[in-house]
Symmetry: C2
Subunit: 336 residues, 2 copies
DNA sequence: CTGTTAGCGCATTCAC
DNA sequence: GTGAATGCGCTAACAG
């Protein structure tokens, strides 16, 4: 069906080795022959079979990206960042959705290795032991995105979740709030834990005693925020502010507040996280912590590319991107 | 490094041909030998190299999914539908983001073919001539999602965009609206055109004359809706209702209305499309047309799988999934 | 510089 | 039923 290197060699009256050489610049070829070959290649519109190439080279120009559904809201943007960067360097992105299922993750990891992917980006939010083991066993470049392994033996790119939440909590405290609930995600994710710790530390640093019942650990989505909100706002003695681990949770919380007869921010202040496009358009506009999602994606790709080039060095780096408090309308100063 | 079929053959004292046979059930093998081989396979944890296999079989167990950024809001859900379905059948999803760039699309299509993908799902919203040509030239199973080629020579899965918009417009008319603006996406997308036609027809069928200046064709995102809204609501003689091609556009339009001192739905009714998760949580809750996004994804996968099995038959089917008007708060009845 | 040859890991035709 | 040999399309030693 398709053209092979043989066809080119025959029509150009050279050996297949020569064709391979001009195509890969692997060895010097005389200008005349090179040109002759290129002419045939162009006329035929020939391009080498990447599968055969992979079989020999053990590289595929493929990069696997594992995603789960956490923070699913910004996955799309994140992936675009990765994808664009990789594409510019001739790599293709193999996207794998794991739904956070360890078994599925492992399945994909093995599959990817068998396909000779040149690298992997993990956006699965909970670095499991199985993953660590896999990358210990297989020498495949990998970037942990938005989460790191405990020992920091692998490259990673993150924002400073601890500091970001610390800053957010501090902001609420500066506004005069002394009772602040924490609408969390699952504590299995280090990301969540780091945020929680930042929150606790900010409380502590400002002489606020953490209260039993301020923590709601459900998930990163709208429904979780709504449920936590309905639960919290039904209480007699409710906090004056709520920190949410995502904007979607914040939106759910705002809905719950309104359904409970509370106004935001007059009766309760609600802070989000992510700064998804809708955050600035919501009513009230959501005060939130901005993550540079696209940059996290493209940064992952850049780091991975570097690691692929330097494969074998065992080098490993960590990158932390800046966050930013975006002040809008959903949090107000307490002036009583 | 990795295990090969030779290792298995050696340890089981059989030829590689026999190993291949038990693994593929391609030819009968005596029970004793089969068992002996399987034992070695299990002990070694051997699995065949898919790349070598692809080189011979000309199939990869890979499916390419091309996406652009239109309706980017629901791509995530759509892809999950595809991915899950394919995964269950042993296929892996190769996701390619084209940004609607024809050149990039073509690049990917060629790459995918060279990787021997077993099929392709197109979610690029504008069936371009180049794409049609590609699939005419290359006999690769393909599903056009959310858009069809004009001639209907390829399989596709859609909702009935024409009817859905007709229904939505009719709903607004039934509410008493006689002047209805259309916040559109780019007219290069057939999807957009079909919706526009449904809108026009509904107007016509109910004796409403279409007015110059009711059409705003920008894009499917929030900003487009906002801009169109600011433009429209500044006018003296503004419509009482607006149909938007997506919920994000609707959200932008609602923002614009409020920034123009208009209340929704008291002063202007705004209707969305898609029913993204936020639509029901927005303030006001958005009246919209629901698309079964996940089902469009899994349906695409099912149709593709079927086509892969029946490859060569040249069979081609079209599937239309139901839409639904979701009545919420953003549109009100005119009672004057 | 260039051509010949030998694999990469596997499926499959042939002989037996 | 089973094994030896051939080749998928390509790269890389090896000679010349």
């Amino acid at each position: 069906m398709s053209l092979t290197i043989k066809d080119v060699a025959r029509l150009a009256n050279v050996s297949i080795a020569t064709v391979s050489r001009v195509l890969n610049r692997s060895k010097p070829v005389s200008p005349e022959i090179r040109e002759k070959v290129m002419k045939v290649v162009d006329e035929l519109g020939y391009n080498p079979n990447p599968v055969a190439r992979t079989l020999i080279m053990k590289e595929s120009m493929l990069v696997g990206v594992l995603i789960s559904d956490v923070a699913n809201t910004f996955i799309s943007m994140f992936v675009r960042g990765i994808e664009k960067e990789l594409f510019q360097h001739g790599y293709t992105t193999l996207l794998c959705n794991t739904n956070g299922d360890t078994e599925v993750e492992l399945h994909y990891l093995n599959l990817l290795r068998d396909k000779y992917v040149d690298g992997v980006v993990l956006l699965t939010s909970a670095p499991k032991q199985e993953q660590i083991d896999f990358f210990d066993k297989n020498d495949i470049p990998v970037i942990f995105s938005s989460h790191t392994d405990k020992d920091g033996r692998f490259s990673s790119i993150n924002i400073d979740d601890y500091q970001a939440t610390y800053d957010a909590t501090k902001y609420l405290i500066m506004l005069g709030h002394r009772s602040i609930a924490f609408f969390s995600g699952p504590m299995e994710y280090y990301q969540t834990v780091r945020r929680y710790n930042g929150y606790l530390q900010a409380l502590d640093d400002h002489g606020i005693e953490y209260q039993e019942g301020w923590l709601f650990d459900k998930d990163y989505d709208l429904e979780s925020g709504y449920k936590s909100g309905m639960e919290l706002f039904a209480r007699e003695n409710r906090p004056t502010a709520v920190f949410c681990v995502s904007d979607m949770v914040a939106i759910g919380a705002i809905r719950a507040a309104e359904d409970s007869g509370l106004r935001v921010p007059e009766d309760v202040s609600i802070m989000g996280f992510d700064d998804i496009p809708i955050a600035g358009a919501y009513r009230p506009k959501i005060t939130t912590v901005r993550q540079p999602v696209y940059e996290l994606g493209s940064g992952s790709a850049q780091m991975l590319l570097k690691q692929i080039r330097e494969k074998g060095t065992g080098s490993c780096e960590s990158k932390v991107l800046p966050h930013e408090i975006i002040v809008r309308e959903s949090c107000r100063a307490l002036t009583d």
